[in-house]
Amino acid sequence: MIEHIFPVHPAAIFILGALVIPLLKGRLKQIYLVTLPVVAFVNLLYLPHSVFWVHHIGGFELIFGRVDSMSLPFGYIFIIMAFLGALYAIHLKGSGEHVAAFILVGASLGAVFAGDYISLYLFLAMMTFSSAPLIFYRRRKSATGAGFRYIMFHLFGGSLLLAGIVLHYTFTGHTHFGPLESGGLYFYLVMIGFLVKAAVPPFHAWLSDAYPEGTATGSVFLSAFTTKVGVYVLIRAFAGADILIWLGAIMAVYGVVYAVIENDGRRLLAYHIISQVGYMVAGVGMGTQMAINGAIAHAFCHILYKALLFMGPGAVLYVTGKEKLTELGGLYKTMPITLILFMVGGLSISAVPLFNGFVSKSMIVAAAGLQGEAAVYILLVLASVGTFLHTCLKLPYYTFFARDAGIEAQEPPRNMLMSMGITAFLCLFIGIYPAILYNILPYPVDFVPYTIEKVVEKIALLSFTFLGFWLLKDKIAGQPTISLDTDWFYRKAGTAFMWFCRNPALAFAGWVDMTFARLAGGFLWFCRNPASALATGVDSMFAFVVRIFVGRQRHSPLRALKSVVGWMDRLSLAAEEAAKRRAQREKMAALAQGEVDVRGIDSALFLVALMLALFLLYLAVKYLW
């Protein structure tokens, strides 16, 4: 029976569904928030592999539903994430955040199923705008600034993408979204547009800038969607682009480096998103079936454990209002469940066997190994050392153990714990039973994660990392600082630009206005008494010219002649006289001013009406005649 129901676009379910949220209240709203993702998931299960919802608008073909084995895994995890995120945030009274979050989910699904560049661009822009409120709702000054920079940077990336799309259309005559031929300007423009979404350095600073500024519940949503959509579009268009291997590997280590010196817990996690997405980008760059599989699997697992990781500090922030490592400590006594669930996320991101990170991350690393990319392999392994060090050791150590900061705390609300619990269960479930994940990947998987060799290597690597951490644990305590990053450039540039607009540009605008006002004023003055004005003009011109030659300048070339030649004197006299006359005439012109008689508009209207009447009369006569 169900196949007779026309499948509904998953994006439509969320976007239209989001609009209903403000109408609901209380328990009904809570039920609605968790039911909608379930409905969407069932709907997605019944979507056959095919191309749906093709529309022709203004000569362009818009494909809204390209359902295939590449887009479906992303669809599944996005909807699962929507459910978890909604459950985590269900206690919020207001509707604004829920609406923004659901539109974000819908837009991400739309972007994933988009089959052409225009609809893709549409949904990417929608993602930008729907995710920003999740930051703005923090309602503090630094959040506003970060949200603003977030939107502007994504609009910048979007502009480049749009330029690339337009150029692509001009060259190829279609907007179909598929693998791009290398070379050509549009190749790079589209790539940069996508790299901005995936937060690849040097276009990554928006992420570490904005995500930690989000609300406690909002950041969970933020962490899941934008970068993973970036990875998806990279897979679609740039699978096998060599440059991505290197960008990805560098990115994986880059995030780790910044995580070392970061003091804000959620910002540390944000840098680890960059690091983890680096694995996926490297996988996309390798482009082999195994690497692509690995990238998609890792995106799938990453969304789960990253959400879990953001939920932990989110819960701490929600309960204590604090997020800096230097302000936290000793929470293990009051929030033990949160700690345990957070540790599941930490072990997952560190790719400990039995946790889901292990079954996906090792696939990408193995792909790098099989391709013989030694340097990339080393960088990726190094990044996983750093990941374990920070997410699994440093962050929980300084949040939950270390010195006791004496903070009053209790466990977060039940819905938060429930959401974290389900997420943790999924992390473990996929880690123990990876086949369920491997079955939905686009290419057949012939990769076995659990071999004695791999497990031992991984455990050895991480255990000795733990040893290193234990030796140096006092050295990596958080310090109350912020870190310079590539956002320095546009923060400074933005400040400079605003200064430019407020000062020179405004002055210029004023100058243009003044000049025209003066012109108009001069015109008016001229019209009051044209003869006198003309004479004044001639006089002042004469006085001006003569003064240049014989005026008061000491070193005027003709000054020397003045004493010799008598007519210079006369000229000089004449000039003075002319100036005097000018002053007199100006006074005369000014005196002519008087009050301007502003006649009532009504009389003018009467005249117009009279003329119109005559005109109508004329027409009527013309017709009748």
Binding site: I57, I118, R139, S159, V166
Partner: protein, 492 residues
């Protein structure tokens, strides 16, 4: 012969004639008359558009006199498109006026107001349907006179100065237009546009033709408010009553642009303005400068009305840029933007007016927290702002997309950059406002109640805001008129 063509123009004029008479008896009737006249105009515009679509360009001889002696009205797809835009915006503005004018214009000025606004509408509609250059001048003058008076009508401080500056600059503009028209008449002996375009090629090497073109360009450039001739605009916009401002930004300046298009494409022809005298390329640069400079000025404004005014200037630049690119995609984008921008800017000014009506706020900083007080109005504001920035799926995106494609089609890379840069700058100043409105904390705790507008103001706002969204998705509807218009203009 279809009578819609004369009725579309005469209805507002008849209304303007009736309005003072009825106003003597019952002042409130004026509003009804104005609404009825605008509604009828819209109805006739639709009929006109329908018949243009089915039977192509319509010619109509007023009084049955053949040109070159009589007055000829010509309606091609572009004219019909303009008619629809103008009459739609005018109708909404007149509806909006009901409560706004009662509050903002006390003291028996209602009669004058509605009469003038009908004159303004009639003049503009006349300009877009006339096929005669001299008539175009006369009707331009008619609506300009009404416009001067409307700017000054509130009699508040600064309104006379604003109106006066507008009057001076615009009069200079109209004088130049008259001079240009005169030159063309001297050399060709006709004022009919179709005749002119036939006879002009013989004089293409004459200096008189160049002079005429230059005069007409500058004259209409002032009317269109191209940089640096835009200086009258922010003052006039921020002083005039809001419904008038809406008509100004959505229609009056567009009529200037329309006249520019007529002069360039219908009278002089594509070949002359691109190959013989590179007027069109020069205009693209002027338009690009307009877009960038006006956007920059908008960023630095502190008054909401002035910010919107500068933003409006920038968007007229888009229209001119698209048309002056003189390629199919560019012209489609430019002409489409006339409509899309009318929707967005109309909505924005309506919202700004609503804020003034409700709270008296004019400064951007004071808008903090109004999102909670006037949620519908502010949501509409956001939607329209999104359209202005050019974010899909709003209408503004469509025209931006076509403009970019047009710039590439013309091989002018630089304008793609200009368009994208300008949309970033637009985002800067609109986002700032939206952020203040919704997340700026609450400055008016207790002072302003949660309070929406009267229906007569809310309905136009919501219609325009929905239009911004709807016409971003159903682009085909305006394109049905725009595409033939581009065909006719580029002589295909």
């Amino acid at each position: 012969m279809d009578d819609s063509i004369i009725l579309v123009v005469m209805t507002p004029f008849v209304g303007a004639y009736l309005s003072p008479l009825l106003g003597l008896w019952r002042e409130r009737l004026c509003h009804l008359v104005a609404v009825a006249a605008a509604l009828l105009s819209l109805f006739f515009s639709f009929r006109l558009a329908g018949s243009v679509l089915t039977s192509g360009t319509i010619r109509y001889w007023v009084g049955g006199w053949e040109p070159p002696w009589g007055i000829e009205l010509v309606v091609d797809p572009l004219s019909a498109f303009m008619c629809l835009t103008i009459s739609l915006v005018s109708l909404l503005a007149v509806i909006y006026s009901k409560n706004f004018i009662e509050k903002e214009l006390p003291g028996g000025k209602m009669t004058s107001y509605y009469t003038l606004i009908l004159l303004l509408i009639g003049g503009m509609l006349g300009v877009v349907v006339t096929g005669d250059l001299f008539n175009l001048f006369v009707l331009t003058e008619i609506f300009s006179v009404a416009a001067y008076a409307l700017v000054a009508i509130s009699g508040k401080r600064g309104s006379f100065i604003g109106s006066y500056r507008y009057l001076i600059l615009a009069s200079i503009g109209t004088s130049l237009i008259l001079l240009g028209t005169g030159y063309l008449y001297i050399i060709t002996g006709t004022l009919n546009m179709a005749d002119l375009s036939v006879r002009l090629p013989a004089f293409y090497d004459s200096w008189v033709v160049f002079g005429a073109l230059a005069f007409l360009l500058i004259g209409f450039g002032i009317k269109t408010a191209l940089f640096p001739l835009h200086t009258w605009l922010p003052g006039a916009y921020s002083i005039a009553p809001t419904p008038v401002t809406v008509i100004f930004s959505a229609a009056v300046s567009k009529v200037g642009g329309y006249s520019l298009i007529r002069v360039l494409f219908t009278i002089f022809g594509l070949e002359f303005i691109t190959d013989l005298v590179p007027v069109a390329p020069a205009l693209t640069w002027v338009a690009a400068a307009t877009i960038l400079v006006a956007s920059m000025f908008a960023i630095s404004q502190t008054s909401l009305m002035r910010m919107l005014a500068y933003s409006s200037v920038a968007h007229i630049g888009y229209v001119v840029l698209g048309v002056a690119l003189a390629v199919e995609m560019g012209m489609t984008g430019g002409i489409l933007h006339i409509f899309n921008h009318a929707l967005a800017t109309g909505c924005l000014f309506f919202c700004a007016g609503a804020v003034i009506y409700k709270t008296g706020i004019r400064r951007i900083d004071d808008l903090r927290g109004l999102g909670g007080k006037m949620p519908l109005t502010m949501a509409a504001f956001t939607l329209a702002a999104v359209s202005k920035v050019g974010i899909p799926p709003s209408a503004g995106f469509v025209s931006k997309f076509y403009l970019s494609l047009g710039a590439l089609e013309a091989g002018e890379w630089i304008f793609v950059i200009v368009i994208l840069l300008a949309s970033l700058m637009t985002a800067v100043f609109y986002l700032r406002v939206i952020n203040l409105i919704f997340f700026g904390g609450d400055k008016h705790e207790g002072k302003v109640q949660r309070d929406e507008l009267p229906l007569s103001m809310l309905v136009p706002i919501i219609i325009l805001a929905l239009g911004c969204a709807v016409f971003g998705i159903f682009v085909g509807i305006p394109l049905r008129l725009v595409e033939p218009a581009v065909m006719v203009l580029s002589g295909m």
